[in-house]
């Protein structure tokens, strides 16, 4: 057996298929993308790449649209973390305490998560429909708040928030499930001990649940951040050009438009590289945080 476990033929034979596919289709393209970002290419196959040094990076970092896209994605990240994690965990805590209907409630909040992003975004397109017939607008008129009706996706003041709401609607169910999975690992004796000590209400959430669920909470925050940094689908479908005055432009959409609409492949690659570096930094940083075991033993 020990001999077999060191047999190089077996090791290579089993390992190579995955290794080759992964290297050719994921790792090498990333390296090429970084190389592309130091070149200019018009998208025409016959025209060769032209080396331009750091020019693409200088261009994007002095471009107000790119800086705006960074600002938007930062706002997107901060608000998404502030909405998705607390709402998701609150839902999880509430549903966990119900004796009946747990499956129904879980389904009600989780289903948006598994629907295709296109379907979800097109659906919200109807909710944000710009005329007074739109669902949101007609609802506002019905309850007597007709002053608040908006062209939600057109108005630069509301468009980014409108997109964040769509992302939140789709994702809270996921954090709810993570919360419930975390809760199922906590033994009841802790809560009974807490009840004897008279801990209840908000105090119970603050002193018992949050410390006990600290690991899933940290993990959820990291997942929201890495997910939102590369957000594309929702933004692309609801505001294909990045909104009025670039109010909803995000780096991924800008990269897509620059490369596949305007054939500025060098600029596109530079933006792609920036997105990659941001995701990588967050991942490495988060690995460090997760590996620090600070959770309290009970």
């Amino acid at each position: 057996m020990e001999k077999i476990r060191k047999n190089k033929k077996i090791i290579l034979g089993f390992l190579l298929p995955a290794f080759i596919i992964y290297t050719c289709f994921e790792v090498l393209p990333v390296i090429m993308s970084i190389y592309f970002s130091f070149n200019d290419w018009s998208g025409i196959q016959a025209v060769p790449l032209e080396y331009v040094g750091l020019r693409n990076y200088i261009k994007i970092f002095s471009s107000p649209v790119f800086l705006k896209s960074l600002q938007n994605v930062l706002i997107y990240v901060v608000i998404s973390v502030a909405l998705q994690v607390p709402i998701g965990f609150a839902l999880g805590l509430i549903i966990h305490h119900f004796d009946h209907g747990q499956r129904f409630f879980k389904a009600a909040f989780f289903i948006p998560m598994i629907l295709s992003v296109s379907a979800v975004s097109l659906l919200w397109n109807f909710i944000y429909f710009p005329t007074e017939k739109g669902i949101l607008n007609s609802f506002l008129i019905k309850i007597g708040l007709s002053d608040l009706t908006q062209q939600w996706l057109v108005n630069p003041k509301t468009s980014l928030m409108a997109l964040i709401i769509v992302s939140t609607w789709t994702s809270v169910g996921y954090y709810m499930i993570i919360c419930m999975a975390g809760l199922s690992t906590i033994s009841d004796s802790i809560f009974e001990a807490g009840a004897l000590d008279g801990v209840a209400g908000i105090k119970k959430v603050w002193y018992i649940y949050i410390p006990l669920l600290w690991d899933p909470i940290k993990m959820s925050v990291i997942m929201v951040i890495t997910g939102v940094l590369k957000i594309f689908d929702t933004v692309y479908i609801l505001t294909p050009s990045g909104g009025t005055n670039n109010s909803t432009i995000v780096p991924s959409l800008l990269m897509y438009n620059e490369s596949f609409r305007y054939s500025h492949y060098g600029i596109g690659s530079a933006i792609a590289t920036v997105i990659f570096i941001m995701s990588a930094l967050v991942s490495v940083f988060s690995l460090k945080i997760m590996n620090k075991k600070e959770s309290i033993e009970y």
């Binding site: 057996m1 060191k6 047999n7 077996i10 089993f14 390992l15 995955a18 596919i21 992964y22 289709f25 994921e26 790792v27 090498l28 393209p29 990333v30 993308s33 290419w41 196959q45 119900f98 209907g101 409630f105 389904a107 009600a108 289903i111 598994i114 629907l115 295709s116 992003v117 296109s118 097109l122 659906l123 919200w124 109807f126 017939k133 739109g134 007609s138 609802f139 996921y174 499930i177 993570i178 999975a181 993990m219 959820s220 990291i222 997942m223 890495t226 940094l229 590369k230 594309f232 692309y236 991924s252 897509y256 490369s259 596949f260 492949y265 596109g268 690659s269 792609a272 990659f276 991942s283």
Partner: protein, 280 residues
Amino acid sequence: MKVKGRKKKSIKSIIAFLLFLAFAVINVYPLVFSIFCSLKGNLEIFSSFTALPKHFLYENYITAWKVGNIGKYFLNTIILAAGTLFVSGFFGAMAAYILARFTFKFKTGIYLYFITGLMIPIQAVLIPLSYIFGKTGMTNNYYMLIMLYSAFCFPMTVLIMTGFMNNIPTELEEAMIIDGATIRQVFLKMILKLSLPGMISISVFNFIQVWNNLLFPLIFISDKTKGTISMGLLAFFGEYSTNYSASMAGICLTTIPVIIIYVLFQDKIENGLMSGAVKG
């Protein structure tokens, strides 16, 4: 003590329960509303988005199915997903088996090499790949797309499956080897079977990735008849942007099967998606 507390709280908790129920219903309302709209005429939609349909117009579904080619897109997506699940699942499990059980130089290095892929966003590979695919005429090629999707499924698959296989007792393998089985037989007949729960979870996770992916088909599929569901829905919506009821029917045609599958396999799907939560 517990019983007394319950009685006291009962009315309060019923009210809380009802409020929460209302909130849950509001949350699924957009889905209900899409079904209503898909059964209405265009004029009826615009007279009021929110009312119940007066007559059920099933024609919208027929339009979406025929003109929107939803059936074809569905099939295409299923083919791509099935191919990806097979390639990433089978080869991923093979690699995971080696990483979990064998000893060789650079083992940790290779494991980390796979895991590093988790931090690579798909945006980072689009431009070079479209360059290469364009140059070699591989656009619209499903084999290449399956390889591409699989490449992005490997990191999570290797991570989950290596963890899973580490927990399979080694004695079973040793017994099979002593009985004269080859390592290939051990892998196919025992390891894969015992890893089935993990394989199901990771397959659900990978399936959702393929199902939801919009960027890959948008860039690597130019032939309309080869489009995926997310892309097809967008195209249909673009062409029929004035026919709202048919668009809604198109949306429903893609969401309803997913909802039915979810209701049938709720626990498996939730667990599968949870496997994504171990990353970080």
